[in-house]
Amino acid sequence: MIGNDRVEVRKTHKLFVGGAFPRSESGRTYEATNSQGEFLANVAKASRKDARDAVLAARTGFNSWSKATAYNRGQVLYRIAEVMEGRKDQFISDIQDAEAVSAKKATTQTDQAVDRVVWYAGWADKYAQVLGNTNPVSGPFFNFSIPEPTGVVAAVAPQDSSLLGLISVIAPIITSGNSVIVIASMNSPIPAITLSECLATSDVIAGNINILTGDPAEIMPSLASHGDVNALDLTGITDSELQKTLQIEAAGTVKRVRSAPVNPDWQATPSLSRLRAFTEVKTVWHPMGM
């Protein structure tokens, strides 16, 4: 070696489960490439066993996270945005590599991803006011309805929007108090791995957000039939046969299923439909009397 050229230290890209970074228990990896097919990194290829481990972590995470106050959840979400802001350069470079877009476009997507987390952070202590209400029943009762988190949600991030799409899937799920197991874009997983490092150094409760890299066709059927998963977000499923299989599996425990949207526009301001999809309305009655 001549001059100041330095041999760079390359990173091992691992899963993010229960707040830790395990390799796949299967020991498998696959090659992540850029859009020209050039090698970027070896990435852990999660197995069905990894998915089951993630469910266990997510349930534990749910038990704490769903009890956090709405104000606290908002702060944790905002903290994610703060940490992401500090890693913007890395996200921009990751997205450029993964999606072969210009620096300008990658910057816009990164900015929007951070801003999206801030948007949902603000919803944490407001969505129940908008989706809940009191009900004027005909009798001497006080009656109110409030949305509550559904539980553990298994999600597939969009294949083509490696950070903005990913965060647009994760944020509404956790804002209401759910836990999530999300499978990153299979071809562009590296921005998701960078995100997991942000999550690990923010105040996210261990197990609340779990990120797997690998093949949704391999991992999702076991999550769709898992008895401790409450809901599926199939946003990133592009194969309609696979989507049908997952919907059939989901019926075993009557899971809530949000199917893949048609031509989603990740740049647009979201509606409340994602928040609504993973909440349950609870209605409480109590008599009024002296």
Binding site: Q243, Q247, I248, V254, D265, W285
Partner: protein
């Protein structure tokens, strides 16, 4: 002591039952092409009428009529005018309420007191409530331009035939959808009387279609390719089958399925009121209620005393002629359901629980089951895990609030729960922790069109009633 009551039968003169009944398609009563079946009075086993069975041709005709009405009339009508049709229907149900109540009791077996005071008035209230939404949907929180889904297939159970029809049809019509509804095989008559009401209201043809038949008719309806949404109330097993059937389609789905609700009584609860709530929770409508309080959780220190009070109260319940205005417990809806209750209660005894029923005379004909209480029940017993859908209560005990929550939530179901305590902070904490869609605190089995109803977990998804119930019939703010 037992008070003697003179018989106080409600007259059936107000009801005129057709000996054979057609389907209601495109505003007309139309003969069905399947093999007709008989509907009986479960209190006497007498045949009430013959009912048409819709086959594939009839299902197609009904869906086609609903599609045409949707495209040509209903989706184009102003919300204001849609609402006025619903107001008309609400008024007609009120006007014909006694007729509906008697017919419901004849066909279903429920006490006239319940059909008269609960089922029919709340059915009318559902139409009245939803009528007012029809021209205000843009204020309901589903975006500025909420749209109907199209043709809705609705399949309902036999426990509240007219009321479940109202829960399904009123929100669907208010939001601009058209409907094909299949009532349960054993309870078609009030749905067909409702069809007559639609004619009296001059509801445009095809907006509501009623097709009678058994499970196969329901399956064909749910699978019909021109259906945009399916709404089902019934067993979890059938709900799961429907969820599988519509996989891979764009059909929207809401399910209101089974339950195994915990009714939790703390030691500071007013015991006499709690006993009334326990009785109402499980013996209302012969326990044919998906949200019935079928698992009684008693705090240990008051368990013995509460069970004694409960037994004393149950001895005053009157089982018998559903048309008698003093009857508390009517007939079981069908022999099939009676056999299921017998089978599950037998498993309770076999598994070691202790069975008790008050002395009561069981009529010779018809399907009857005495109110039954099981004590010494463990969480592993079938009678603590499976939905019995009959007048059978399983009693368990707990020591701490945490244990009560643990036991209450130890079920795949999550439809409802009851909490009895005088301590406000405990009510709110318990209500917060129990995983169920409806929580009744110091009351039980209350229903109102303004109050959303529906389950967590395997009790289904989607809500009926309230502003949340509208979401089941609207395209929500679609975006990514």
């Amino acid at each position: 002591m037992t008070f003697q009551y003179a018989p106080a039968p409600e007259s059936t003169a107000i009801v005129n039952i057709n000996s054979s009944n057609d389907l209601f398609i495109n505003g007309e009563f139309t003969p069905g092409h399947g093999t007709p079946f008989k509907t009986i009075n479960p209190a006497t086993e007498e045949v009430l009428a013959e009912i048409a069975q819709a086959n594939e041709e009839d299902v197609n005709a009904a869906v086609m009529a609903a599609r045409k009405a949707y495209d040509k009339t209903w989706s184009k009508m102003s919300g204001r005018d849609r609402g006025k049709y619903l107001f008309r229907i609400a008024r007609l149900i009120q006007e014909r309420s006694r007729e509906l109540a008697v017919l419901e009791t004849l066909d279903n077996g429920k006490p006239i007191r319940e059909s008269r005071d609960v089922d029919v008035p709340i059915a009318a209230a559902h139409f009245f409530y939803h009528a007012g939404w029809a021209d205000k949907l843009e204020f309901a929180g589903y975006g500025t331009y909420p749209r109907p889904l199209g043709v809705v297939a609705q399949v309902i159970p036999w426990n509240f035939p007219l009321l479940m029809l109202a829960w399904k049809i009123a929100p669907a019509l208010a939001t601009g959808n058209t409907v094909v509804l299949k009532p349960a095989e054993t309870t078609s008559l009030t749905a067909l009387l409702f069809a007559e009401i639609c004619q009296q209201a001059d509801l445009p043809p095809g907006v509501v279609n009623i097709i009678t038949g058994a499970g196969e008719t329901g399956r064909m309806l749910v699978e019909h390719p021109d259906v945009n949404k399916v709404a089902f109330t019934g067993s979890t097993a059938v709900g799961q089958a429907i969820q599988r059937q519509i996989a891979g389609t764009n059909k929207r789905l809401t399910l209101e399925l089974g339950g195994k609700a915990a009714n939790i009584v703390f030691d500071d609860a007013p015991i006499d009121q709690a006993v009334e709530g326990i009785v109402n929770g499980i013996f209302f409508n012969q326990g044919h209620v998906c949200c019935a309080g079928s698992r009684l959780l008693l705090q240990e220190s008051i368990a013995e005393q509460t069970i004694e009070s409960l037994k004393r109260r149950l001895q005053t319940l009157r089982l018998g002629d559903p048309l008698d205005k003093n009857t508390d417990i009517g007939a079981i809806n069908s022999r099939e359901q009676l056999n299921r209750i017998i089978d599950l209660t037998k498993s309770g005894e076999d598994e070691g629980a202790q069975r008790w029923s008050p002395d009561c005379v069981i009529p010779e004909r018809g399907f009857w089951f005495a109110p039954t209480v099981f004590t010494n029940v463990t969480q592993a017993h079938r009678i603590a895990r499976e939905e019995i859908f009959g007048p059978v209560l399983s009693v368990l005990t707990f020591r701490t609030p945490d244990e009560a929550i643990e036991k209450a939530n130890n079920t795949p179901y999550g439809l409802s729960a009851g909490i009895w305590t005088e301590k406000g902070s405990r009510i709110l904490a318990m209500a917060n922790k129990v995983r169920a869609g409806v929580v009744w605190a110091n009351t039980f089995n209350r229903f109102d069109p303004a109050s959303p109803f529906g389950g967590y977990k395997e009790s289904g998804f989607g809500r009926e009633g309230g502003v949340q119930g509208l979401g089941a019939y609207l395209t929500s703010e679609e975006s990514s």
